[in-house]
Subunit: 417 residues, 2 copies
């Protein structure tokens, strides 16, 4: 249809992770939802087109949250001083079980999807629960709100309370149903989601790996979140060289596009595997400190050339806002830097993780440059800031102190939501 | 006048730091702004009084921010990857100098006071700038908004750019003017504020200590924020046993009620001095990690019986919200706990710091019990949370994920603002 759209404002994004691209007072031109170019002065041929003029506002890419649990959204910020097992048994598993109720699932997932969009998360890779009908409600909630998603039915066949695990055949059938129903949707797609190695069996991982490969569906799971978990995996899979090798044996480590959340304590071999297998590691800084897992050495991973995205990890992390995840990633790296000055992450590095790297998992998204899909946010800050600070200062201020009320417009695929 | 006020709701506060006092569905009765009692059932004698029924909402004490810089509010969240000196020179000092302009000061301080109240900070101990007329605008802003404050004109006579320091006699005259003008105000009072030892001289500290003692005005300053600063103090005051002893020599360490912000790296002697001199240490967790000062060992201070309050430290800290400061204090203690499991702070301990301990600096405030002034917030959360979680879960959820939109009412001295 060749629908031309022109946004005007101060355009900022990260084309690479070490610096920001800043286009003051410029025109962002897209055709059919795909960015064509940025112009300082609008070319003559577009002079008759309507310009959506956002004045002195900032236009930035949307955020992509590569790891969270929609099925835990209600419990955000509760039980934060519990130990992991108590937290799972007293809060998480019960809530996840209740989300088999379709009415409740619609209500909770509707709130979750709405809040993601409000805070500028335009795409999310998310764990629902082991309930297939509940998970279907999460697909529908994302569709209704209009955000991008990779939505996973959680697969658990062992080592959890009976009321939350499934027989393997039931689990597989649920996956196949959701793949059949949603694989062709444009913005919301299925993702194979073993909860993690300890709640899987070799049979379940083998079957899930085969489904992922056969249907070309990506994979998401957890890896090396805390030392006890790593020991447990070694006990359960004594033949394994390391945690990653358990997933790798069953086609769940890079055979298809793969998200590995946490990666706090990877071995040198696992770091190498992550690189060669083209894994997306997902850093979840709030969660890692809330449940006292440790601090992932993200700067090192970036320097190794590994793809690292950012996750809110609702509800191990308590904030759905990705700007908060950016701040906590920088703060956590500063904690590391108290003993290793080289460990500190810059704002552009973490912004890149939250936008360009996250967007890459979804397609050509997360950058405001030619050939990329127009997923963008318009940020309007207080006049007192506008008058005093540089564009990058104002961006940093939004990241550190802003909330949904600062976001004046949201575009997904060129469509204003 | 014996004005009776009755609030109804779920009343929660910390009478001591190790547990919460919870009064489900109860009546909070105050007379002339002072709490008389909490009742499960309203006594017959009050049956004819109007009850402000907040239903299933939470009624909690307000927050008291014992350390922040009103003069840096505009720069919150900017320059967060700069080194301290660059941050001060490129951002802080210039902004502080501009706040000598009365019109600008009114605008900035008005925004600051309004935002404090919005986010539930009912009292704040704050640094303005070295400008006396600018500082007067901050007093006025607090008065206009109606919150409690100890407002300090910043005293700097050396070791900073010329445009931001004063001659000692000008500095002292400014203090005396503000003391004369504001000492008798009920809610907003002056506080003697040497910026810190390095921008002071022995003469300036001596004079300020004498003014504080003579006029019975409290003192606030910084101590032991980072190792370089501590070395610098030793160089400047080679006779001193430690940082605290510099202040102590001039009556600035406990002669009058005294706030010492940061205290990240106190020596055992300074810890002992803080205890015997009845100092309020002020923990500023966001700031300490943002500028990479380290992590203050707060659990240890609490166990020593030292009074420790909580500060946002705007703009070293980026969040004006005290619930965020509570979360970051817990998270920072969890970072410490990765190597010292005993270091972790509980929610009740940090809530106590932010309410009861902070309130104690202002008077009988910060607890919702008989004899205390009625400073309180009413928190209304989402129906989905109300139906599912305990009262303490819901409080924790507000602390971890809430914002000003959750605060449905604010009372100061019994007056709804």
């Amino acid at each position: 249809m060749n629908e031309i759209q022109i946004l005007k404002g101060n355009i900022i994004f990260t084309d690479e992770m070490h610096s920001f691209s800043v286009h003051k007072n410029s025109y962002l031109l897209s055709v059919d939802g795909v960015i064509k170019n940025i112009y300082e002065n609008l070319p003559d041929q577009y002079q008759d087109n309507i310009v959506q003029d956002f004045g002195d506002s900032l236009i930035i890419p949307g955020f992509y949250d590569l790891h969270n649990h929609a099925g835990q959204y209600l419990q955000c910020g509760t039980g934060m001083t519990k130990q992991l097992l108590e937290w799972l048994n007293d809060y998480t598993y019960k809530l996840e079980a209740d989300l088999d109720n379709v009415e409740f699932a619609r209500e909770v997932y509707g709130l979750f999807a709405k809040d993601l969009l409000a805070y500028g998360t335009l795409g999310a890779c998310t764990f629902a629960t082991s309930s297939t009908q509940g998970t279907a409600c999460l697909f529908e909630a994302f569709k209704e709100v209009g955000i991008r998603g990779f939505v996973g039915k959680v697969n658990m066949v062992t080592n959890a309370p009976d009321y939350i695990i499934e027989d393997l055949d039931v689990s597989l059938e649920g996956n196949l149903n959701l793949i059949e129903k949603y694989s062709n949707h444009k913005k919301v797609k299925p993702i194979i989601t073993p909860r993690f190695a300890p709640t899987s069996t070799e049979a379940s991982m083998d079957a899930l790996g085969k489904i992922a490969k056969k249907h070309g569906v990506p994979v998401q799971t957890h890896i090396s979140e805390n030392p006890d978990e790593i020991k447990w995996v070694k006990t359960l899979y004594p033949w394994s060289d390391n945690y990653a090798s358990v997933y790798a044996k069953y086609g769940l480590f890079g055979t298809v596009p793969t998200l590995m959340a946490h990666a706090v304590h990877l071995t040198p071999e696992e770091i190498e595997m992550s690189k060669t297998e083209n894994i997306y590691l997902v850093h979840c800084p709030d969660s890692n400190i809330n449940v006292r897992s440790g601090i992932a050495p993200i700067k090192k991973y970036l320097e190794e050339g590994i793809k690292v995205g950012l996750g809110s990890d609702i509800a191990g992390g308590h904030k759905i806002q990705m700007n908060e995840a950016i701040v906590r990633a920088i703060q956590s790296s500063k904690h590391l830097s108290l003993t290793d000055p080289h460990a500190q992450l810059s704002l552009s590095e973490v912004f890149y993780m939250a936008t360009a790297q996250g967007g890459a998992f979804f397609g050509k998204m997360g950058k405001l440059k030619s050939g990329y899909v127009l997923d963008a946010l318009v940020i309007d800050d207080h006049p007192l800031y506008k008058n005093r600070y540089t564009l990058l200062d104002r961006l940093e201020k939004f990241i550190y102190t802003g909330d949904d009320r600062w976001i004046k417009a949201r575009f997904i695929g060129g469509q204003r939501l």
